[in-house]
């Protein structure tokens, strides 16, 4: 009998470590022959903490939203065959949502123990590199990747075989293989989950890539905010060295390859390839002009290939199952699967991996369960600060690189932040510009000053001080910032503004011309009033008003003095009769 507790960062945040400790205490107290193990994130973050119990026939029962005080009961159920209460185990509906997915990059996350190489070996781990090293030449490896149609999952969607081939063609040595685990998009955590849940899978991908391009050194550039991912990678690298999958003369084939980890220090722009290289060299992470491309002159001016975590996670699968099997999934130009981090106003937030080509509606409603509190869907943000907001009328857009780009957003690395009717789109654009303004490295004037000016205008609009001509000025600035920026940070920074202007222009206009925020989010534009009919003259609003802006009595209906009102909304939250209106 095995008990497995999901302990990715998300599970731990939900209390999984405490659950694990409680289970351990229970097991030692009762002196039971049960092994307690850990695994990564299985994707159903909304059900965390998740505990899987495998019986003697290896049949799995999944328990959800487990609390430490359920430990004793879980053991009873597992040992004595007591039937669990329905709410304790995963529902049929949730199982169905899982079944609609196709796990390639996430194939092991949430099922194996990421801190034990034997678990990875038991699921045919390191078989792909064995096959590659013993039966294939680097050009054959690149050819197989070409057949698979794999494109970069880091955002740009560049064909992976092309990048590998470009690095392979270089005569100079040494060459370097770099894994981009900077995952800068705020609101996305695919790479974190893969690293935490299946570190050996990425190491194997790095080995195959390294062999293909002719590198003997690989580097993981990992975000500083991901300490657990770094820890598990360190453990995995150490174990892989012990077993001879890293180091000199790997598997007796004469191939040398080793890996080390560089922790980032917190800068979004360092996800950009040339900035990442500058950061690896210990400098400020400032992008530089391309060409020369990293494949020609990268880390220490040597040929360097940079791939995203998820891109690499697909690689071992491709060599075990064949490039054609990968290409059989997805659409004409976007092959395989894609992992998304489904968050925001969504019922079932978490990680999903789907074959390319499913529609946004299927992802958000069928797998994600729809909108929180059954509110109305307004938009989904894809691609983070470089992406855009896709509105409801485009929900049937298939999820593939070309179709998403056509909407004005980008596929990006996999962030999907869902917004409902209460999210103000102007405020959303302001949020992203605030982010890009802070994260601009400052090298290009258009990016450095342009984003600042755009932020000022957007702040002015959300503060209710928007002016006639602001929209046009924003549009002009968008063009200029796009044109005048060296790297894609500035080049794509206007996207959140452009897409919201394209699909939600009426919201901008309402802010500027009618001094109204249709989503009731921008506080400066709200007016609170008390409905004469609904008010029962209880006075609770007046007692809670921090500025004494509300007057009335047992006999007189309460009214708000608009000059004193600071629009904090306290009266609306405390009124038991829903008598406070906001517009």
């Amino acid at each position: 009998m095995r008990i497995v507790v999901g302990q990715g960062s998300c599970g731990i945040a939900a209390g999984a470590t405490k659950v694990s400790t409680a289970l351990e205490n229970e097991i030692t107290q009762r002196n039971l022959p049960v092994s307690l193990e850990l695994t990564g994130c299985c994707g159903t973050c909304y059900l965390e903490p998740v505990v899987d119990i495998y019986d003697e026939h290896n049949e799995k029962t999944t328990f959800v939203m487990v609390t430490p005080d359920m430990a004793g009961e879980l053991i009873d159920i597992a040992l004595e065959g007591k039937t669990p209460v329905e709410t304790q185990i995963i529902s049929a509906e949730d199982m169905e949502a899982q079944a609609k997915q196709k796990k390639v990059a996430l194939r092991n996350a949430g099922s194996i123990n990421p801190e034990d190489i034997n678990d990875y070996l038991a699921v045919d781990g390191y078989k792909a590199i064995e096959k590659v090293l013993t039966t294939m030449s680097p050009t054959e490896v690149i050819e197989e990747i070409k057949i698979s149609g794999l494109r970069g999952r880091g955002g740009a969607g560049f064909p992976t075989w092309f990048k590998w081939n470009a690095a392979y063609q270089q005569k100079e040595s040494p060459k370097y293989m770099v894994c981009n685990a900077d995952e800068g998009d705020p609101g996305a955590f695919m790479d974190r989950s893969v690293l935490e849940g299946d570190p050996h899978g990425i190491i194997e991908g790095m080995l195959i890539g390294g062999y293909a391009i002719g590198a003997s050194e690989g580097i993981f550039y990992v975000r500083a905010e991901y300490p657990l991912a770094i820890k598990r990678l360190e453990i995995a690298i150490e174990q892989a060295r012990e077993k001879g999958f890293l180091g000199k003369n790997i598997l007796g084939t004469g191939f040398d390859f080793d890996l080390w980890i560089k922790a980032g220090a917190g800068a979004f722009v360092c996800g950009e390839e040339t900035a990442l290289i500058a950061s690896l060299e210990g400098e400020r992470g400032m992008p530089r002009l391309k060409p020369p491309f990293p494949a020609q002159k990268g880390y220490w001016q040597k040929p360097t290939n940079i791939n995203n975590v998820e891109t690499l996670a697909n690689v071992p699968w491709i060599f075990r199952n064949g490039g054609a099997a990968f290409a059989a999934m997805g659409t004409e130009l976007s092959k395989g699967t894609k992992v998304f981090a489904l968050t925001g106003k969504i019922k079932k937030g978490g990680l999903v991996e789907i074959p390319m080509g499913l529609s946004l509606r299927e992802v958000i409603f069928d797998i994600g369960g729809g909108i929180l509190d059954d509110k109305a869907f307004k938009a989904v943000q894809m691609g983070g600060p470089s992406g855009g907001c896709i509105p409801a009328q485009l929900l049937d857009t298939p999820v593939d690189y070309e179709s998403i780009t056509k909407t004005g957003a980008i596929m990006g690395s996999g962030g999907m932040v869902v917004m409902d009717e209460t999210t103000c789109m102007v405020e959303m654009a302001r949020f992203f510009l605030d982010f890009t303004r802070k994260e601009s490295c400052g090298k290009c004037i258009h990016c450095r000053m342009g984003t600042k000016r755009m932020l000022e205008i957007l702040t002015r609009i959300t503060d209710g001080k928007g002016k006639e001509g602001d929209i046009e000025l924003l549009e002009e600035l968008c063009e200029k910032v796009k044109e005048g920026s060296l790297c894609a940070l500035g080049g794509t920074a206007p996207n959140p503004v452009l897409t919201t202007l394209q699909y939600f222009r009426d919201e901008y206009e309402a802010h500027i011309y009618e001094h109204k925020c249709p989503s009731h989010q921008c506080t400066h534009l709200l007016t609170y009033t008390i409905s004469e009919e609904a008010c029962r003259k209880c006075g609770i609003c007046a007692r809670n008003c921090p500025t004494d802006a509300i007057s009335g009595s047992k006999d007189v209906v309460y009214v708000i003095d608009q000059d004193l009102c600071i629009k904090c909304g306290k009266c609306k939250t405390v009124c038991p009769f829903k008598a406070v209106d906001v517009d």
């Binding site: 960062s9 998300c10 731990i12 945040a13 939900a14 973050c45 909304y46 965390e48 995952e183 800068g184 998009d185 705020p186 609101g187 996305a188 955590f189 974190r192 975000r223 500083a224 905010e225 991901y226 300490p227 560089k262 922790a263 980032g264 220090a265 917190g266 800068a267 979004f268 950061s279 690896l280 060299e281 210990g282 400098e283 400020r284 992470g285 220490w300 981090a341 968050t343 925001g344 106003k345 937030g349 978490g350 990680l351 943000q381 983070g384 962030g415 932040v417 869902v418 917004m419 999210t423 959303m428 949020f431 992203f432 982010f435 802070k438 994260e439 601009s440 490295c441 400052g442 450095r448």
Partner: protein, 181 residues
């Protein structure tokens, strides 16, 4: 650019901190001859001292041969590096997209009100420092904050206040114990 955070230049504290520089010797021994290690050295230094005092930056510059402006340049470029000391508990409040959509600014208001500090500041009793960050990778449990490595998820303003009060109470108990024992 992160260097000024919109609140004027975040210049290194000019008063020499007087920290024990010798603690850094093993780190420098290991990394100073490896090109490209400046960020790693600064990370290790920050682990040792909790922040990067100006004498540490100068020391790193003189030992590695990297020019002082370049060391300051790197130290001010990356958000992870702090040039001022922090409180005993470092609150990293997520301001990422998912947390933002799910009400991170209300959490920020509650924390600022509870502790009477704003982003980047430390409470007078040196107990708490508030740092807004972009995404802790727990987006599906948003809004989220991390205090000294422990993640607190699905926050509400009240829950956030309660967590802070709890920590303060716990801390008083512990320091009280130390004082009496």
């Amino acid at each position: 650019m992160q260097c000024c955070k919109g609140q004027g230049p975040q210049a290194p504290d000019p008063t020499v901190s007087g920290v024990d520089l010798s603690l850094l010797i093993p780190v420098l021994e290991k990394y100073k001859s490896k090109p490209g290690s400046l960020i790693t050295i600064l990370q290790k230094a920050q682990d040792l001292y909790g922040y990067l005092p100006i004498d540490v930056l100068d020391y790193v510059a003189s030992e590695t041969g990297i020019k002082p402006p370049n060391v300051y340049g790197v130290a001010t470029f990356y958000t992870q590096f702090r040039l001022k000391p922090i409180g005993k508990y470092l609150i990293m409040l997520c301001m990422g997209t998912a947390c933002h959509v799910n009400g991170a600014s209300a959490i920020e208001d509650a924390i600022c009100d509870e502790l009477k500090i704003v982003d980047g500041e430390t409470t007078e009793d040196n107990l708490f420092t508030l740092n807004n960050v972009a995404c802790l990778g727990c987006c599906s449990l948003s809004p989220v904050m991390m205090i000294n490595g422990e993640t607190h998820a699905k926050l509400t303003p009240d829950k956030a206040r309660k967590i802070l009060r709890e920590i303060r109470k716990q801390d008083q108990l512990e320091t009280g114990k130390e004082a009496t024992s």
